[in-house]
């Protein structure tokens, strides 16, 4: 009976592997396609390719703007993280650890703003970016994404769980409020910081609508739009032009890599350090 609920390791493995296979197949197909001769990508959609080659990578990285697109995306994502994580965690700290007038209403309004879909805020966003002279700079994308409500919400959830005694004790020892945030709260919510950072990085990496209206020149496009740019040419050729599917599969495969690196970093830096029960207080 006990085993039924907490299944033994074999069952856990079976479940995890099965789920893994289901999730992995499309990615495997993408990755393997990027190594197929460009003419085979569409005409031979099989999972076990007849021929493998590096020609798509050579072509995409040397003769197309794919490296440039990836660089632009990296700038946006890293910039968002660098500005966004401090800013949202500080706000989350305030919402979680202090009592102040209008706190709950303010937080409710923040959450309510999520209920308005991006599409209708697009024109106002463009107007604001233009007023501030940000159009066609990475900041037009980075800054709006840095004030992200969902990561703030997630961080607040973690911060709320910390025992108040911890902070009181520190205060009595003479610690300033910023030190409470920086030296006590943040280290204790490292899994939360990792998860929020991942969420932020992912959102920025895949951002599509904002760059669409903010970016004015092809050289500043992020990879999400860059792939679309190639895809439009695919549409033109309806699937076979070698100059198209090669860069798309290569670009899509390569654009996954930084996100995976980000996830692994998060695992190492944020989650792993905690398993020793550091949070117990």
């Amino acid at each position: 009976m006990r085993r039924l609920v907490a299944p033994d390791l074999v069952l856990v493995y079976a479940f995890l592997v099965l789920m893994g296979v289901v999730t992995l197949i499309p990615f495997y197909w993408l990755a393997i396609s990027s190594f197929k001769p460009a003419s085979d990508i569409v005409s031979d959609p099989s999972l076990i390719p007849a021929r493998l080659t590096l020609e798509n990578y050579v072509y995409a990285l040397t003769e197309t703007p794919v490296p440039r697109f990836l660089l632009n995306t990296a700038v946006i994502a890293v910039g968002t993280l660098l500005i966004g994580l401090p800013v949202t965690s500080m706000a989350a700290f305030a919402f979680a650890r202090y009592h102040f007038r209008g706190r709950d209403v303010l937080f409710g309004l923040l959450l309510a703003s999520l209920a308005i879909p991006d599409y209708v805020t697009l024109i106002p966003s463009f107007v604001v970016a233009r007023l501030l002279g940000l159009v066609n700079t990475p900041f037009a994308v980075i800054i709006p994404l840095a004030a992200a409500v969902l990561p703030l919400f997630l961080l607040r959830q973690y911060l709320k769980q910390l025992p108040e005694e911890l902070f009181d004790a520190a205060r009595i020892d003479g610690a300033g409020e910023f030190r409470l945030y920086w030296q006590i709260a943040l280290p204790l919510i490292r899994p939360g910081l990792g998860a929020a950072g991942l969420l932020m990085f992912l959102t920025a990496w895949n951002a599509y609508l904002l760059p669409l209206v903010m970016v004015r020149t092809r050289d500043n496009l992020p990879i999400s739009l860059g792939l679309q740019y190639f895809y439009s040419s695919v549409a033109a050729a309806s699937g076979t032009d070698r100059s198209v599917w090669g860069p798309i599969t290569v670009g899509a495969t390569l654009s996954v890599v930084p996100l995976i690196v980000c996830l692994i970093l998060m695992q190492r830096q944020f989650i792993a350090g905690l398993t020793s029960g550091a949070v117990k207080q």
Binding site: S43, V127, L225, Y229, A236, D241
Partner: protein, 440 residues
């Protein structure tokens, strides 16, 4: 959020062709200029200076502009912004709404012309383009709004039936019999019967593409949803035609003899390679280019059959997907350059235009060497010339976004057997009236 759309398939496929026209080796002097009407007075190329910003939706045209237009105007800085047709729409709306950062010229999908031109942001070009008007082979080639000329359509997207004649012959079907749709459908039924439902040479796509495909049938029968000034076209004969086209669509579905998917996905070519898909109805650019690119091993076996007739005595005409055009913004900063751009593709750039779109509505184009060349893939058939002989009737695109979202589901319901052809017509008329009443 990152997204794409099937519309980008449709948009581009309806309008343009693949990269290069395989088998075409255009040679000789650029023509068109010689037989063109007296060109409207424009400045000499060397006097056109400054910058010209063009928002473009086709990488092929981007290349063509770089290689030809820019070369012809060395003192002009052409600033090309190429985002793909679909993204352009969202970008353009933001720019139009906020009146900022607009380009001099933008690319527009012809089906959606009305919604753009209605904004009053585009420059009418009667004086410039009127002299060319009579040299187009179809009134639909001229982009008109409220009686004014704004542009001309490139790559009209007129449709033909592209078939693997050789494999059809091996299946006992002679494409010479494809003179009427009745005969063609009979042949498709026979093919399906003989192959146990495995083989087909027709497509019946789904969704927006399905609606636009449906529309090519309606269009080819001189049907129209709207009058020229955008009122529901409720003429009795027109509605009778619509009902017959619905019936045709329903029968086609019921017979199960058409390949049903989106446009031409990879699986379509796979089936073609396996000898299961032996043809498809398709616009010229895609038909003439993609077939060649995807099925090189079937070279010489394919033929283009011009659109079958609707009856023995019906006229020989086809339908279209609409094509695209370039429109000049009213507030264009470099008007001289914009005017030069607009006439360029009818003068020196005609050959380049044909390379991208495969075919043109502009009659002098037929004198180009491309039109006289037999294409080896099509067994030496002069596909351009054959295509240019089949006219397509005038067609009024109004509120095409709403048409796809309102009439599209009706076509789907009819195909699914949920409504009869007569009911579908009633629903369509109601939808047209709703669309018209919602305008402001």
């Amino acid at each position: 959020m990152d997204q794409i759309s099937r519309r980008s398939f449709l948009v581009a496929s309806a309008a343009l062709g693949g990269a290069a026209l395989a088998g075409c080796n255009p040679a000789g002097p650029t023509t068109g200029g010689a037989s063109a009407p007296a060109p409207a007075p424009t400045k000499a190329p060397a006097d056109i200076t400054g910058e010209l910003t063009i928002w473009n939706g086709s990488s092929q045209m981007t290349n063509a502009i770089k290689q030809t237009f820019q070369a012809a105007y060395p003192n002009l800085k052409v600033n090309l912004v190429d985002f793909g047709g679909n993204d352009l729409q969202e970008k353009l709306l933001v720019a139009l709404a906020t009146q900022t950062d607009l380009p001099d010229i933008t690319w527009v999908i012809a089906r959606r012309a009305a919604i753009y031109l209605r904004t009053n942001q585009f420059l009418e070009m009667d004086d410039l383009l009127k002299p060319y008007e009579s040299r187009f082979d179809s009134p639909s080639a001229i982009v008109r709004h409220r009686g004014r000329i704004y542009s001309y359509v490139q790559g009209p997207g007129n449709v033909a039936l592209w078939v693997n004649a050789e494999q059809l012959r091996q299946n006992g079907i002679d494409i010479a019999t494809f003179t009427t749709w009745d005969a063609t459908i009979e042949a498709a039924k026979k093919l399906a019967r003989d192959s146990g439902g495995q083989k087909t040479f027709l497509i019946q796509p789904l969704r927006a593409i399905g609606f636009n495909t449906f529309n090519t049938f309606f269009h080819s029968r001189s049907g129209n949803w709207w009058t020229e000034d955008g009122q529901p076209y409720k003429d009795g004969r027109n509605l009778q035609t619509l009902q017959e086209v619905f019936q045709f669509w329903i029968d086609l579905k019921r017979a199960g003899i058409a390949y049903e998917n989106d446009w031409v996905p990879p699986t379509f070519w796979q089936a073609a390679r396996e000898g299961k898909n032996l043809g498809y109805q398709m616009n010229f650019a895609v038909g003439a280019n993609n077939t060649v690119q995807n099925l090189p091993e079937q070279s010489g076996q394919w033929r283009m059959v011009t659109w079958p007739k609707w009856g023995p005595n019906a006229p020989n005409q086809t339908g279209a997907f609409g094509g695209v055009f370039y429109a000049v913004l009213k507030n264009a900063k470099n008007l001289d350059a914009a005017r030069a751009f607009m006439t360029f593709w009818l003068e020196k750039g005609m050959e380049e235009q044909i390379k991208v779109w495969g075919i043109s509505n502009y009659k002098p184009a037929t004198e180009l060497p491309i039109y006289q060349e037999g294409r080896p893939f099509f067994g030496g058939q002069k596909v351009q010339l054959d295509m240019s002989r089949v006219p397509y009737p005038p067609f009024n695109y109004w509120d095409w976004d709403k048409m796809e979202s309102e009439i599209g589901p009706i076509v789907e319901q009819a195909a699914a057997g949920q409504v009869t052809a007569a009911q579908a017509v009633d629903l369509s008329v109601k939808a047209l009236e709703k669309i018209a009443s919602e305008r402001r």
